[in-house]
Amino acid sequence: MKVLIVEDEALIAEQLQRMLKDIAPQAEVLDVLHSVKNARRWFMQNAEPDLLFMDIQLSDGISFDLFNYFDIKCPIIFATAYDEYAIKAFKVNGIDYLLKPIDEEDLIRALGKFKALQKNQSISTEVLQTLANHPSQIGRMYKEKLIVQHRNASIPINLADVSLFYLDQVIFVVTNDGQKYIAEQNTLDEIEDILNPNEFFRAGRRQIINQNAVESYKGDASGKLYVKLRSSHVSEVEISREKAPVFKRWIDR
């Protein structure tokens, strides 16, 4: 953790360094700057630290003025002798506000906040990394099972085993082995929401089909498609001319 200290009183800065050495030995103090002028020069020449400790009233002005020159994004722990400017401190990215002389407990708490913040940031970096490596995982997770009611019992059905959902007053769930259940959902839209669009296709207003259940398909002169499923319940599912190209892209991937 790279730390920068902006404090105009040398002895107070020294004490902060001593405390940091004790409490956070991993902290590396990059520099101690005693004025707005020096801090400006530093930020022009250096990359942002991980954490910034900053007094408010400095020997040559007010440290808040730095934010007029730089878009400082790192977390800041403000330290001041007297509690006057706390509200302004939090308008910039102040994560804590310490009163001088700095109490050890307060400093530990402030560093804890910083660590928590860092952890959150690294988790989100981790997630992004995972998503970058496995683009298929981008977005939401899809369900693997669907619960249906059958003879007063709840039956979990593997969605991979479902060949077809179709609407006929209620929604029927047809499995590969030819079993037929009634879904709890009232609309095909609700069903569609929980399905992986790579595996299931909304064939029309009344059907959703599983890719694995498609045995064959053929077109006619009008451009419509007729899909033959492995399930014995429905011989063919009709796909409109408009949807036909979408289906072809979906099935051939």
């Binding site: 002895l11 004025s35 020997s59």
Partner: protein, 212 residues
């Protein structure tokens, strides 16, 4: 800072005074006493001094003890002279040495206080903490940067006391307090025929005090 309610004071009654003048005196004197209290309790001075002391306890115990003694004497002086109209310049300068030392320990090379008042003047009188108020004003409004130090000089000139500093105004979030200065002037107008003078050039800020 929020406007602080006026602190009640009971200045000693002056027998020869007319009723109307007394009121003017009361109000001015209470104003300066309020200033004294502000300096006495100035949170930045107190807490920064304590933070410095903490650091010294680790780094330099001898200096820490000296710093603590000076801090104690400064606060004791401010407390004991709270109800005193006038003190000798010698007493005030003794206090100012401590006060200036405290500031110099804190600001290092950013501040220099130069006292060159001949001892012959030590028996003259002055309103207590006048010099502390003026030095504090100077440090509050001017850079105390080692690259550009603030130099405060206290000296005598033609039977007057001069408090002078180089002008290098910095931006501050603290409320500007010209009122303290003007009430100090009113108070000196009460004690002396000669007025307190404020002289300002682009480079310097100077207060000329009548010696009482």
């Amino acid at each position: 800072m929020k406007p602080t309610p006026k602190i009640e004071s009971t200045p000693p009654k002056l027998p020869a005074q007319e009723a109307g003048e007394k009121t003017a005196y009361d109000s001015d004197h209470s104003e300066v006493k309020y200033q004294n209290l502000v300096s006495q309790l100035n949170p930045h001075f107190l807490f920064n001094s304590l933070a410095t002391l903490e650091s010294l306890i680790y780094s330099d115990q001898r200096l820490a003890v000296k710093f603590l003694s000076q801090l104690t004497r400064v606060y004791r002086y401010v407390l004991t002279t709270r109800h005193t109209k006038l003190v000798t310049l010698g007493e005030e300068l003794c206090f100012i040495k401590d006060y200036a030392d405290l500031l110099q320990t804190r600001f290092g090379k950013g501040l220099e206080v130069c006292l060159t008042v001949p001892e012959a003047y030590y028996s003259y009188q002055i309103v207590p903490t006048t010099l502390q108020i003026l030095i504090e004003n100077a440090t509050r409004h001017n850079l105390t940067d080692p690259d550009s130090p603030l130099l405060v000089t206290i000296k005598t000139e033609n039977q007057r006391l001069i408090i002078e500093n180089n002008l290098q105004i910095k931006r501050t979030l603290e409320v500007q307090n010209r009122q303290g200065l003007s009430s100090l002037r009113n108070l000196y107008a009460y004690f002396s025929e000669t007025a307190l003078e404020i002289q300002q050039t682009p480079e310097f800020f100077r207060i000329v005090l009548p010696l009482l």
